[in-house]
C-alpha cells in the first residue's frame, strides 16, 4: 500500500517563528489533506490539496504531485498552533495518514 512519511517528527518554536512541515508519499494520489489535532484531540481539516497551492490566513500548503510531496507552511506561529499536524493521502476512497509532526510553540 501507499506509504506516507512526515518530517520533522517534532518541532519546537518560539512564538512568531515560521516553519515548514513536509509530507512525502510513495505513489500517485488524487487526494491529499492536512489536519491539525489540537491538544484536546480534536481533528480539524486545514487543506484539501491534491495539487497546487492554497492559503488560509497564516497557513499555506503546496503539493507537487509529480514529485510526490506536499509542504505545509506556518507563518508567525502562535501558541494556539501547537498540536500534531497530519498529512493524509489516497488514491481512491481510502485515506492513509502519516505519523504526524508534533509542533510546540512557546510564548
Amino acid at each position: 500500500g501507499i506509504q506516507v512519511e512526515q518530517s520533522p517528527p517534532d518541532l519546537i518554536l518560539q512564538e512568531g517563528a515560521n516553519s515548514t512541515l513536509r509530507c512525502n508519499f510513495s505513489d500517485s494520489v488524487n487526494n491529499l489533506q492536512w489536519f491539525h489535532q489540537n491538544p484536546w484531540g480534536q481533528l480539524i481539516n486545514l487543506f484539501y490539496i491534491p495539487s497546487g497551492t492554497k492559503q488560509n490566513g497564516r497557513l499555506s500548503a503546496t503539493t507537487v504531485a509529480t514529485e510526490r510531496y506536499s509542504l505545509l507552511y506556518i507563518s508567525s506561529s502562535q501558541t494556539t498552533d501547537s498540536g500534531v499536524y497530519f498529512c493524509a493521502v489516497g488514491t481512491g476512497t481510502a485515506l492513509i495518514f502519516g505519523k504526524g509532526t508534533t509542533l510546540s510553540v512557546s510564548s
Binding site: 481533528l43 481539516n45 484539501y48 497530519f86 476512497t93 481510502a94
Partner: protein
C-alpha cells in the same frame, strides 16, 4: 448540523466483552471511515464504506466488524475485546466527488480494555 457524532465518548471493557461504537453523520456523505489512534501515533484505517451496503477493510481490520445499512450510520463492532484494542477511535465522513473531498471527523471514542 451536528456533523459527525460518535457515542460513547468513553468506555471501559473487560477482556472478552463485546461492544458497538456508534457513528452518525447528517451531511448526506457517501464515504464513511473508522480510524484508531494509539498514544503518540498516527491514525490507522480500520474499515471504510462508500455507501449503504458497501464496506471494505482498511489497514487494521482484525478484531472489528462494520455494517452500513443507511447513509447516515456506520457502527463499528468489537468482538472479544483485547487489551491491544485500547485506543481512541475516530469516525469520519466525506462527500464523493465535487471540488473538495474534505474529511470531517467526530470527536472520538476513548476505549480502554482491561
Amino acid at each position: 448540523n451536528a456533523g459527525v457524532t460518535q457515542t460513547p465518548k468513553f468506555r471501559i471493557l473487560k477482556i472478552g466483552q463485546s461492544m458497538t461504537l456508534q457513528c452518525a453523520q447528517d451531511m448526506n456523505h457517501n464515504y464513511m471511515y473508522w480510524y484508531r489512534q494509539d498514544p503518540g501515533m498516527g491514525l490507522k484505517l480500520i474499515y471504510y464504506s462508500v455507501g449503504a451496503g458497501i464496506t471494505d477493510k482498511g489497514e487494521v481490520p482484525n478484531g472489528y466488524n462494520v455494517s452500513r445499512s443507511t447513509t447516515e450510520d456506520f457502527p463499528l463492532r468489537l468482538e472479544l475485546a483485547a487489551p491491544s484494542q485500547t485506543s481512541v477511535y475516530f469516525c469520519a465522513s466525506r462527500t464523493r466527488g465535487g471540488l473538495t473531498g474534505e474529511l470531517f471527523f467526530g470527536e472520538g471514542s476513548r476505549l480502554t480494555v482491561l
